[in-house]
Symmetry: C2
Subunit: 201 residues, 2 copies
DNA sequence: CATGGTCTCATCTATGCGTTTGACAAGATC
DNA sequence: GATCTTGTCAAACGCATAGATGAGACCATG
């Protein structure tokens, strides 16, 4: 739909010295490239040819290593689940914890965006109900007001951390700033901390 | 094989009551169906055949009336812009205003979802920077704390109103409830009001 | 009954994914 | 060293599908 049907540029140079038979490296490159492509265009919009181009590899390798587009996608999902767990640091105040997640999302929004695509498409593998015990503890300790459902606090944090990556147009409209600019990021992080602090009693 | 003159079989007199030439009705049905399809699967995932099926019309009519898939999509966007403006009621307290938007989003999440698809795909037509003067007034009147950027308040409201429609998986994970159930909706509306009230000084 | 806007059917073209084929390179095995 | 196995590339093909097109039928109206 949007204008130029241009393909992503091929990965830099062939890097001749590194040019070996290295299935592990190929897998890695393909997963990286797939992350780029899928997070950018979603599953339906992604093109295996473009993924191969980004990786600088032959598209046939996608079939060879992952059994096709869908296999690659699912592998990404599996990887995401593996990495997602255990980032929470119970010792940190909630506002700082959220700020850290935000930093993460700014540094690499691909996971965030991929998740958003999945949610919209309704294609979420199946996840266990989130463990909210930590949030409940925080509530007991006064970081979250009694009147607020910890689930609501959680959703708020997740939504607001994701927003700059998933709703860049809204950011531009409301803030009149480039979502990628350092100034905006700093401002947003500061504001988000204030919001989170306001969840406290 | 030359020709049996091939008179297309006459339709077996189907439901003559509704059987008319009514371009306005066709347009309406197609736009309705397109809203369903696009909001459900996004632009790349949508299928013109499915739109036609939903509308109960011939898919060629999409080309005829709108010049194709993209034309239909853009028409939807135009319609959205037209309807979106002027829903704000300055007299209402902020929390109630947001609750009203939420009600709207619950009743028909298609606009919300369509917007989310657009944002992710980066295909946003072009929107003027939002008018935040009303929010600034609310800030001056104490509905929003001085330390909070009205743009941030706006983004929070929009995000949280949209969340149940755009992140149903997150809702299920965090709340352990069906995003479509009346119980959840009531609970969520209540919680959102509390959150918004906490933006006040 | 001639006309023009509306609609249908069959077809066309492009694209995307996957597969096949055939060649080659590097290790491993004998 | 000969041979086998695995990883990689390139080009081409098959095949389904999606979106668009063309020719003509239908219908209302003047």
């Amino acid at each position: 739909m949007q204008g130029t049907p241009k393909r992503p540029r091929r990965a830099p140079a062939p890097a001749p010295e590194e040019r070996k038979l290295d299935p592990e490296r190929s897998r890695r490159l393909l997963l990286e490239a797939a992350m780029d492509e899928f997070s950018e265009k979603g599953y339906a919009g992604a093109r295996v040819q473009d993924i191969a181009d980004r990786a600088g590899l032959n598209k046939q390798l996608i079939t060879y290593h992952f059994g096709g587009k869908e296999g690659l996608y699912k592998e990404l999902g599996r990887q995401w689940l593996r990495r997602e767990a255990a980032f929470n640091d119970p010792a940190l105040p909630l506002d700082q914890l959220v700020a850290r997640y935000l930093e993460e999302a700014f540094a690499d929004p691909r996971g965030t965006r991929l998740n958003a695509w999945c949610g919209l498409a309704g294609a979420v593998p199946e996840e266990d109900p989130e463990d909210l015990s930590d949030l409940r503890r925080r509530q007991a300790e006064g970081e979250i007001a009694e009147e607020i459902d910890p689930a609501m606090a959680m959703l708020l944090c997740v939504s607001m951390v994701a927003a700059p990556a998933t709703m860049p147009h809204a950011v531009r409209r409301f803030f009149g700033a480039d979502p990628d600019s350092p100034e905006f990021r700093e401002h947003y992080a500061d504001q988000l901390r204030r919001i989170v602090r306001r969840l406290a009693s």
